[in-house]
Symmetry: C2
Subunit: 359 residues, 2 copies
């Protein structure tokens, strides 16, 4: 009787096949086979040779031994992407962009999620360093916690000293290559958009204050109001978790305690989804007739919300792609300063914004 | 003048610190230090010893050399999770569940996305095998492509022969440990829910037919209609990509060509978001007054759609968690048959379903 798990027999696998045998089978040099299968060396290999080597490896069932190669080269084809929350569409879109770009270069992207625990970011960075990862993209926001930032900077320095490369998405450390998101400018765009619709009482549903992304967006809103001759009263700001539930609770508190507000900026779209639900279902306030709501990020579902969400659009997939390209682009030999790719923000007006109600 | 990149100097990092030094500093045996820092051996280490070793490693800035360890143990602390699309909230939720469970075991989860190219799944599995990954979760749907399935089965057999473990989420191969999603039952639940509301003309917006997930959900709907004395006319089914745009186009075609339909089952929520937009904005059909719509999965934004989406809820985070626990649970020594964890589906009725319009 056939054992249903008999497929696990150690047969037919090419663990014993050497790179030399693959090279001979393909009729190429060992160096060429290594270049194709291990990405070693700096010279490129023509398409025809590449195909021959790959089909020889396929036929012989050659399995490259990645740990051995990583040891030899002290680097691997792994790029780490550290995010806060893999189920958050903001990071999903960034990851999709980075992965698309990685595919072109036959790199594997290892995504790790910290669930917003600052200690875990450090732990993952160490893990990736121990894996001899080639490069790391830090996609989560930096924090205002100076001690945590210093520990991370030290770990990054060690990673770079080992030959690894680090790119940040969002401002984090002026010494690091950065894909800069227009957080400050975006906060200003949202406030000006509401102002132009006629709103004069504008409040903010904010995220965790220790996140730099949050403070930059909030500062942008504050500075824009100031330049319009108004000011953001601290009592018009409520803080919640960067989650749907956090946005819902903070929005309900804000409009309960400050009922004269007519416009609300919510500092990310996931929170804004919760804010729309809370205003509608908990407070019975009509959006946009009674209150206008502007989100931040333009995640894929923003246009499908009830009502469709006006929001500050950040080019998330492009950010992931730009970060990966920055990692692969050789840095100048004697870098005068770290590189910085600034990305723009746009305000997208949809169904959640309108003129304020008549008095 | 300080060089802004001077942090990349190879100082202060513990590349030269050995495990022996860490063990001495902590006052423990080399074996204990290895157990704590490399997860080697099978004996567990008490919390107090663990803490001493970890703080010694921290103080000495010990960097474990993962490739060397992976070579020695032929396995690493990496679990691969292969998904179709990392920006799809279905996979985001599964990944979040798997990562939460992985954290408890100090494992790193490497997520790779195939963007639904069957060849890429094979390539990633090879890459993970070459990395000596300890285990792989295949979260994407299997396909009806027999040749691709056979190639994958062979690769899985090789991975297992090397000591790796594989778990599937969703039915895929009866020989593999599986977290079974209630795709067939869920298709039936949706149809019965619409039937009980009074719908007798029910159509389906379906995904790519070669995906097993799709055919199982569709079969469930078909079988339920048959058991109710009706039948699913092939002309009442339209197929699109498993994306928002795919769902929108297929729903618009379906309701244009079959205007007498009053209920539509859409085979995933991302497609359903597109279907709601298409029915509303392209055809001007009111949901649920003119057409009722039921989605599938209950992704986090389903309740926030316009109108809130009635859908078949699958326990996605629980599935990711269950898959990881299956990987870590030692398999019986002489497995009579692969293990199977079946998860339930529920029908959640929200704003997108109602009784059909009067004739």
């Amino acid at each position: 009787m056939a054992n249903p798990r008999s497929r696990t027999r150690p047969a037919r696998t090419g663990s014993g096949v050497t790179l030399q045998q693959v090279a001979e089978h393909a009729g190429v040099s060992l160096a060429t086979a290594s270049r194709v299968l291990h990405g070693s060396g700096t010279r490129t290999v023509g398409e025809e040779l590449r195909r021959r080597v790959e089909s020889a490896a396929e036929e012989l069932r050659y399995i490259s031994n990645a740990p051995a190669q990583a040891l030899a080269r002290s680097t691997s084809a792994v790029v780490g992407l550290i995010v806060h929350d893999v189920a958050d569409p903001y990071f999903g879109a960034i990851a999709a962009g980075a992965m698309r770009a990685a595919r072109e270069h036959r790199l594997m992207v290892m995504i790790a999620a910290t669930f917003r625990e600052p200690g875990l970011e450090l732990e993952y960075l160490r893990g990736l360093r121990a894996q001899r990862a080639r490069a790391v993209i830090l996609a989560g926001s930096g924090t205002t916690d100076a001690a945590a930032t210093a520990r991370l900077a030290e770990e990054i320095a060690g990673f770079e000293a080992d030959g690894g490369r680090v790119v940040c998405i969002g401002e984090r450390d002026p010494e690091l290559d950065t894909v800069a998101m227009a957080n400050h400018a975006g906060g200003g765009l949202a406030v000006r958009g509401l102002w132009e619709l006629g709103h004069r009482r504008i409040g903010v549903v904010s995220g965790p204050e220790e996140l730099l992304t949050v403070s930059q967006r909030l500062d942008g809103a504050r500075d824009a109001l100031r330049s319009l001759g108004a000011r953001l009263d601290p009592a018009d700001v409520r803080t919640g978790d960067f989650t749907r539930a956090g946005g819902r609770a903070a929005a309900v508190r804000l409009l309960t305690e400050r009922p004269d507000l007519t416009g609300v900026l919510v500092l990310n779209d996931v929170m804004a989804a919760g804010a729309l639900a809370g205003l509608r279902d908990d407070l019975g306030l009509s959006v946009p007739d009674r209150v206008s709501v502007v989100g931040f990020d333009d995640v894929p579902f923003a246009a499908d919300l009830r009502p469709s969400l006006s929001t500050v659009r950040l080019p998330l997939e492009a950010a992931g792609e730009a970060a990966l390209r920055l990692l692969l682009d050789p840095a100048p030999d004697t870098p005068a300063s770290p590189r910085r790719i600034p990305l723009d923000a746009d305000l997208v007006l949809r169904g959640s914004t309108a003129a304020p109600p008549e008095r």
